[in-house]
């Protein structure tokens, strides 16, 4: 009986979350088209852990995953193990944890807005969650198969549950094992929570248990803090550029109109928020400014100030991936601003306005994400490698040399072919200290595949298939070396993204 009452009281939010789930899993395997290397390495390492208890470099249960020397905090890979076990090694399985991560943030956001009572209009909490779930930034990250979304979810839940210190600090502490950005943000956020909500009323008393738990969770990080692996991703912005990078995360042009310069991280013709959200964002900022003495709004202001810091410090201009934690405070700001604007309108006008905006946003999202994105970003998402793997598997007697001058194709082929991790580790043993040896040749050999730059002098004296893009195998080189076309892979617009040419040692080797 109690369950039915609960269901009835929360029917709307349940329907919203179900709709969000359906939106996030719609064509999840094929949009984004292909697999990005960061997804492939997470998926293959999860597969490797499942089969050998080691990552693909042969390290037993790593804390940080080597991932071509990025030493990514590994919690997400361990979560992926479960999904790979249930659904197998494929794009759907590795992207599904991000779907649940974003839905969990949406759910927590709803309860947070309801509990804090900062919104005046009756259904504003639900409306805010709808716009949060369908915002381009949320949708894009809900359909990714690497760690950023999961890390964002842990951090956001820690922020939203600040009234439950043990849960909050545990989640924040755990988030440092899920993403790089969170390593810097979690301690700052704990300080903010403490100084705003606990410092005056309960100096350390109420938080002591939570702090002890958070510190215990940090033991592995403390142990590894002195290894190069912990510090490998620290290239700091020169002070002269810091302010420019930092304020780029507050620029309406970036937030509501333009896209990330990195093609892999952006969707064509749509920014991280819809352009109309500029007005509620501005109204929300104004509301926060005028209420800045209230603890909740101070919390929001400080979150907005600290969230872009790691991104601005990382020597990359405007990265929507590194600044993902900003999505949460900005979504709350937009919710506050929307509420403020709608308060001045009659109910019928509110309904018409919100309905029109929802339809308008849905059309823009459908156009950008489901129509243009799979086509225009296909190469950035390595869409030809599934077909290449098929060709390799269909021709086991041929030797393939895959050019890696502009990418990391080995992990994509390992992923799509589900190559035996045990065999791979035997063929490519990693020699050296896993956490301190940061040199990688990038040249690997497994099965009938060799991944390295093409060596024209040597390769022409063998019978093999050379594989590369149009730059690796130019028409002049093909003609000069009498190469025979073996296959090509085209994108949706008919452009060749990968091509394979056979060498014949009897023709050109001298």
């Amino acid at each position: 009986m109690a369950f039915y009452r609960y269901l009835k009281n929360n029917l709307l939010i349940i329907l919203v979350l179900i709709s969000g789930f359906l939106l996030y899993i719609y064509h999840l395997s094929s949009v984004p088209s292909g697999i990005y290397v960061d997804e492939a390495v997470v998926g293959y390492d999860a597969y490797s852990l499942l089969n050998t208890v080691r990552d693909h470099y042969g390290q037993v249960l790593p804390i940080y995953f080597k991932f071509f020397n990025s030493y990514t905090p590994g919690l997400f890979v361990y979560v992926e193990v479960l999904f790979v076990k249930i659904f197998g090694l494929n794009a759907f399985a590795i992207r599904l944890p991000s779907v649940f991560s974003m839905l969990s943030v949406g759910t927590a956001l709803y309860w947070f807005l309801k509990r804090e009572q900062i919104l005046s209009i009756k259904y504003m909490g639900i409306i805010s969650v709808v716009f949060f779930l369908m915002s381009p930034w949320t949708l894009f990250n809900a359909r990714l198969g690497y760690e950023t979304t999961f890390a964002f979810a842990l951090l956001s839940l820690g922020i939203l549950f600040y009234k439950k210190p043990i849960l909050s600090l545990t989640l924040l502490s755990l988030s440092t094992y899920a993403g790089f950005t969170e390593r810097y943000l979690a301690p700052l956020i704990i300080l903010i929570i403490y100084s705003i909500f606990y410092f005056k009323k309960h100096p350390l008393k109420k938080l002591s248990k939570a702090i002890i738990i958070a510190l215990i969770i940090q033991i592995p990080n403390i142990i590894f803090i002195f290894t190069p692996a912990f510090w490998v991703k620290n290239s700091f912005t020169p002070p002269s550029q810091f302010l420019e990078h930092y304020f780029s995360y507050f620029s309406p042009f970036n937030l509501f109109y333009s896209q990330d310069y990195d093609l892999q991280r952006s969707v064509p013709q749509i920014a991280v928020f819809y352009s109309w959200m500029f007005i509620p964002w501005l109204a929300g900022l104004y509301t926060i400014y005028t209420n800045k003495k209230k603890p909740f709004f101070q919390y929001l202001i400080l979150l907005m100030i600290v969230m872009p810091l790691p991104a601005a410090l990382s020597n990359v201009s405007y990265s929507t991936q590194r600044a993902l934690p900003l999505l949460l405070p900005y979504s709350i700001v937009i919710a506050v601003g929307t509420d403020k604007i709608l308060l001045h309108l009659r109910t019928s006008v509110r309904i018409m306005l919100l309905g029109s905006l929802a339809i308008f946003s849905a059309v823009l999202l459908w156009r950008s994400y489901f129509i243009l994105f799979p086509v225009e970003r296909a190469t950035a998402w390595n869409s030809g490698y599934q077909q290449l793997t098929k060709v390799i598997l269909e021709n086991p007697s041929k030797q393939f040399v895959i050019d890696n001058t502009r990418g990391i194709p080995d992990i994509l082929i390992l992923f799509w072919s589900q190559y035996s991790p045990m065999l791979y580790q035997k063929e490519n043993p990693f020699i050296g200290n896993y956490y301190s040896d940061t040199n990688l040749s990038g040249q690997v050999r497994f099965g009938n595949v060799e991944v390295r730059p093409i060596n024209w002098k040597q390769d022409l004296c063998k019978n093999e298939v050379l594989v590369g893009d149009a730059l690796a195998l130019s028409p002049d080189q093909i003609q000069e070396h009498n190469l025979k076309s073996f296959f090509d892979v085209k994108d949706n617009r008919g452009q060749i993204v990968l091509q394979g040419y056979e060498t014949d040692k009897t023709v050109k080797c001298h």
Binding site: S248, S251, Y286, R367
Partner: protein, 156 residues
Amino acid sequence: MQFKFLEKKPILILFSLLAIFLSVVQLVSYKGPSLLFQNEIERIEQVQRMHDYPPQYYHVANIIENRPESRLYFKLESNFFNIFNLKLLPPITIPFVFIGFFTLVKRNSYYYLFTGLFISVLVLTYIGPNQPSGFYCLYPFLIISIIYGILSILKK
């Protein structure tokens, strides 16, 4: 406070009139193409995008990518947000612009300053960012916002 005179009504009206005057100058001197003009690259991209839609959505593709109303919307959107590109401002002034703007909004009696801002934004949305003279009709508003931002912080 030696800037006290800046908070007086006639000064704000003067800034607003200056913004309107500069907007008119900027509009009159503008000799760029019409809002619906497409260069060769934009035209090729538009045709390619039309082909990216599945065949059953041909009519939708035509509405979104080809109709003058849609093209006008995308162009105005682009022009509008180019005005709000904070990269064009010296980074150190940005917090003052925000604080100054909110301080001005908070003082409801200063709404007439926003008439100037509104007209400047309207003109710049029409003429767009690709013009040699830049966004100079916004300067009066930016200057007064920065001053108000600084004053508001100094007062605390």
